[in-house]
């Protein structure tokens, strides 16, 4: 196996049951439907797509927080879903999660010190004094001062809270961090601070990021590779350059063209999609995007396109490519 690969995601499926348990006709939301990709060591892989397309679910499943209906997540050669509880707990140290809403991700009843002590407590790492030192160190790294430790989350600003969340994720020296929209809830001026921090930390600790966002500018800025999701499917993956400059999938094209641009002198043409994202409970037949696709053909509503390597390292799932 390729040494440079940290995580292999293979044919992952994660369905949520929607009807009550007593019902005979079970219905599913296919939040993640047969997704495969690799995460390389030290890279930042961006995951974009519209709300509800399954980005967060994918992230969480990769972490092993959900039990998938099918598929594997191979982390450093081991399928995490076949691990025993104890090994899984060990594995947890290596992967962490940063959340979108910094307020919601911190327990409002705990002080920052408690929150940061939690990873050490759970894994029984170090003595009290060692832990204290480590916590202090963590605070330094994310740019918070020691006096913040005795505060409660609600006494801090959004950016500060997000730093605490990052510090917690870093506590156990993980290799992979899944960033689920880490900056979406932050103000523009704070957003930049956090993005820079994430970049610095990555360099320092050789972290791998799975970076989920619907802000394509941010993804463009921070990611090496990008995956575009639509209705539970990965429709295009490739290098940052491939995706933004040589877009293949019509949906990805529309997405990128929809980014509001900041140059008033060069207004660009926009691909306007019609209609809304269909419900993942009841996805369209064939290519899931065909209902909104400006380039659809008859084939699109019948056959489901597979993700194929159109250019080296640049995959797309479209009949037209």
């Amino acid at each position: 196996m390729d040494d440079s690969v940290l995580v292999q995601v293979q044919n992952l499926k994660m369905y949520f049951q929607t009807e009550g348990s007593f019902s005979f006709s079970k219905k599913y939301i296919k939040a993640v439907d047969d997704v495969s990709f690799n995460l390389f060591k030290g890279e930042t892989f961006g995951l974009v797509g519209e709300s509800g397309c399954g980005k967060s679910t994918l992230g969480r499943t990769v972490l092993g927080l959900y039990k998938p209906n099918a598929g594997k997540v191979i982390f450093e050669g081991e399928n995490i879903f076949s691990l025993k509880n104890k090994r899984m707990k060990e594995m947890r140290k290596k992967m962490q999660l940063i959340f979108q809403d910094p307020s919601a991700s911190l327990n409002p009843r705990k002080t920052i010190a408690d929150i940061l002590n939690e990873p050490f407590h759970i894994h029984q790492v170090g003595t009290m004094t060692e832990r204290k030192a480590k916590i202090k160190d963590l605070m330094d790294r994310v740019g918070l001062s020691e006096y913040h430790l005795s505060r409660y989350p609600h006494e801090m600003s959004g950016g500060q809270k997000q730093r605490v969340g990052i510090a917690r994720a870093l506590a156990l020296n993980p290799k992979l961090i899944i960033c689920d929209e880490p900056v979406s809830a932050l103000d523009v001026s704070i957003q930049a601070q956090v993005i820079n921090l994430l970049e610095d930390l990555q360099k320092e600790y050789d972290l791998t990021y799975l970076f989920i966002s619907h802000n394509l500018s941010v993804v463009h800025h921070i990611c090496n590779r990008v995956g575009v999701m639509y209705l539970g499917k990965l429709v295009e993956t490739g290098n940052h350059e491939d995706i933004y400059r040589n877009t293949l999938h019509p949906y990805a094209k529309a997405l990128i063209s929809a980014i509001p641009h900041t140059d008033p002198d060069n207004p660009k043409d926009r691909i306007l999609l019609k209609g809304d994202v269909p419900s993942p409970a009841n996805p369209p037949s064939g290519c899931r995007f065909h209902t909104r696709c400006p380039e659809r053909t008859d084939l699109c509503s019948q056959a489901e396109p597979q993700l194929k390597e159109v250019f080296p390292g640049h995959f797309a799932a479209c009949h037209l490519c």
Binding site: S21, L65, D101, A104, S105, L106, N107
Partner: protein, 278 residues
Amino acid sequence: MLLRIMKNNLLFSIGIIVCALWILIAIVTVLVPSITPYSYLAQDLANRFQAPSSAHWFGTDSIGRDVFSRVLVGSRISLIAGLITIALASLMGMIYGGIAGYIGGLTDEIMMRISEMVMAFPGIILAMTIAAALGPSLHNTLLAMVIIWWPNYARVMRSMVIANKENEYVEAAKSLGASHFRIFFNEIMPNSLGPVLVLATLDFGNAILLFSGLSFLGLGSPPPTPEWGAMVADGVLNFNYWWIGTFPGLAILTMSVGTNFIGDSLRDFLDPRLRKEI
């Protein structure tokens, strides 16, 4: 905080004062039994059915006992009954609802149907049956009340746990490898407790009310315990001596109004949606 709420909320202040007074009376009559003008047990057949007077402020009952003294001493039973019922019912409901909400799925469904069944069950009849079967006593009545009451808490607790379960800090704990036990008790429980406790304060008056109703039906502790509900029943029996039933009834009313004033204001205060002015 207490003072701040009290300052601009008349009803709340009244509630606090009334309840404090009753608690004080309950404590003092326990510590210094001689403080009541008469012993609450002292019978005086020569002076039965005395109307309220300076000697007997609330009059005397069918065997010449001083109603005032009995009303004062009765406070402790009502308070204790309310307290125990609410404490046990909320404890039981919290555990039950917590488990149902946390585990979810089929377990949740079955557990909730069961609790719904208990809720659908006519409470007073259940209590009366239990009391009739096991014999009326404070003990059995409280048992019946707890059985009737816990599903309320189970429901609230469950919905809180379900809401809190979705919180990202729970997921954070999970991703750190925390055990279910730790997640449940450390992350979910503390944050779900608030509404349950509010419900409990609000419910205190209701518990006192139900208890007095049951003891009115003769299901409380046996005589000569001065239970307010039973005293009102005595008043109905001796209908034409209005004071026998009126004063204990007023006692129930004040205590339950007091706790309700507090609970009501507290809820208004704690509910941020209501605090936000229109």
